[in-house]
């Protein structure tokens, strides 16, 4: 499980995370909602070790991401998909997906390529395995990004606003893949603005506001009139997002 305790992070004088406690258990899908600047992405970046915590701790299966020795193991158990895809531009889709399995998990090239091809097939990109990122659409790139993460066979998938840079059609492409993954029991931490989609796939919804975890509820309760919606901050946020 992923366990965050009293996580604090500031950039300069601005406190971005202000004492976050959060548990994510195996095969849960936890969506993190909140307006821009509420600290959602920073929380993900603390989980994968891209940002150092100022205080508190985050452990992934008891491996502390603040300890360099543990971080390597924590990173083997989790994989991140990024908002701006961050594919390796000089490598084909297939090479993007096979690089880490070959280098980090020490898989043979043949084995890694077989896995990568079946992953790319499963997201409808079997025929584009030898294309470079620049030759793919945004939605296709993000699907490669998801395959690259899944190729590491992670226990936890960290998804950082992965549809924010996509148009609605491409967003739908990517979300349908996530829906499949959720069904297979992949544990996901899903930072998003796609409220309705979060509602369909999440087991829990967490709401961040100004670096604080305001609400952590099972999905149904979160959207229930007497649950999360009873809170003015949340109903205000949701009505605003739905209008957009």
């Amino acid at each position: 499980m992923i366990r965050a305790r009293g996580v604090r992070k500031s950039f300069g004088s601005a406190a971005v995370l202000d004492g976050i406690d959060l548990d994510v258990h195996g095969s849960e899908v936890v969506s993190i909602l909140g307006s821009s600047g509420s600290g959602k992405s920073t929380l993900i970046r603390c989980m994968n070790g891209l940002e150092k915590l100022d205080a508190g701790s985050i452990t992934i299966d008891d491996f502390d991401v603040s300890l360099p020795k543990d971080l390597a193991e924590a990173r083997k158990r989790s994989a991140t998909v990024f908002q701006l895809f961050n594919l390796y531009p000089h490598m084909t889709a297939l090479q993007n997906v096979t690089l880490a399995p070959i280098q980090v998990l020490k898989r043979s090239r043949a084995e890694a390529e077989a896995t990568a091809r079946s992953l790319l097939d499963s997201v409808g990109l079997g025929a584009r395995a030898d294309a470079y990122p620049a030759q793919l659409s945004g939605g296709q790139r993000q699907r490669v990004g998801i395959c690259r993460a899944l190729a590491m066979n992670p226990r936890y998938l960290l998804l950082d606003e992965i549809t924010s840079a996509l148009d609605p059609e491409m967003t739908a492409e990517v979300l349908s893949i996530l829906a499949q993954l959720a069904k297979t029991g992949t544990t996901m931490v899903f930072v998003t603005h796609e409220i309705e989609f979060a509602r369909t796939i999440s087991s829990r919804i967490v709401f961040l506001d100004k670096g604080q975890l305001v609400v952590d509820l099972p999905t149904e309760e979160f959207f229930a009139a007497e649950g999360g919606m009873a809170r003015p901050r949340i109903s205000q946020f949701l009505s605003k997002m739905r209008k957009d």
Binding site: R75, Y88, H90, A100, Q103, Y132, P133, R148
Partner: protein, 234 residues
């Protein structure tokens, strides 16, 4: 105009055929130039990558040391560096033959310029790409070899080409340390034949062709490294 026509009038023949007996000698010089430049090209690329890696490293000591190296060798005339290695070092008991001195000096000077070009290529890499590599668990050396170097080369290959061409042109200065490469042999032929006009005209053409070949190769390499941005052949 008058002096010019007078000069032309003094010797109207332009006859390269008189150089025929000297062709094997000049070819030997050209070969020496090619060898020295080939080795120096590899050397300066290796030094360039190493120093660029140090300059972009998080260690203040290493990046400082690399910075001093670049600043030092970029700001001293090449001929002075060369004389220091060839005529200066023997005074303290270090003897290196002319060819090796030439290759080493060219590599060191070329490495300083290359490293600057490569460094800017490294700094231009989208940090998000490096973060993706980092969180996937790749080690730093693997990230440098598989991600940083090839992406940096994509943007720096053209300016590196200018550095390499400059290297070839600068190699003519090696003639000043008894190395009879292309320019050195041409000087000898010119004084043997008393036909400097023909000899140096040929030399112009040879250097121009040599550097033109290099720029063709660089263009081809640039196309290869950026093949993903070329129209796809279905």
């Amino acid at each position: 105009m008058k002096p010019v026509s007078l000069l032309l009038g003094s010797r109207l023949t332009f006859d390269v055929t008189i150089l025929a007996p000297h062709v094997p000698f000049l070819l030997k010089g050209a070969l020496l130039t090619a060898e020295a430049c080939g080795l120096a090209l590899v050397g300066s690329l290796a030094i360039g990558f190493l120093v660029a890696a140090l300059r972009t490293s998080s260690s203040p000591l290493l990046s400082r040391a690399a910075f001093v190296y670049v600043d030092l060798f970029r700001n001293i005339p090449f001929i002075v560096q060369l004389f220091f290695f060839f005529y200066g070092l023997p005074e303290i008991g270090i003897y290196i033959d002319a060819f090796s001195t030439g290759v080493i000096a060219l590599s060191i000077a070329g490495g300083a310029f290359s490293s600057d070009v490569i460094r800017s290529g490294i700094l231009a890499i989208d940090p998000g790409i490096l973060e993706a590599a980092e969180v996937s668990g790749l080690s730093k050396p693997v990230i440098f070899r598989k991600i940083v170097m090839p992406i940096a080369l994509r943007t720096s290959i053209r300016p590196l080409g200018s550095v390499f061409i400059n290297l070839i042109l600068t190699s003519s200065i090696l003639s000043t340390i008894t190395l009879n490469e292309l320019t050195g042999s041409a000087k000898i032929v010119a004084s043997d034949t008393f036909r400097p006009f023909e000899v140096y005209a040929v030399l112009l053409v040879v250097y121009a062709s040599l550097t033109y070949l290099v720029s063709l190769a660089i263009s081809a390499l640039h196309r290869h490294l950026n093949r993903d941005r070329m129209p796809e052949v279905a």
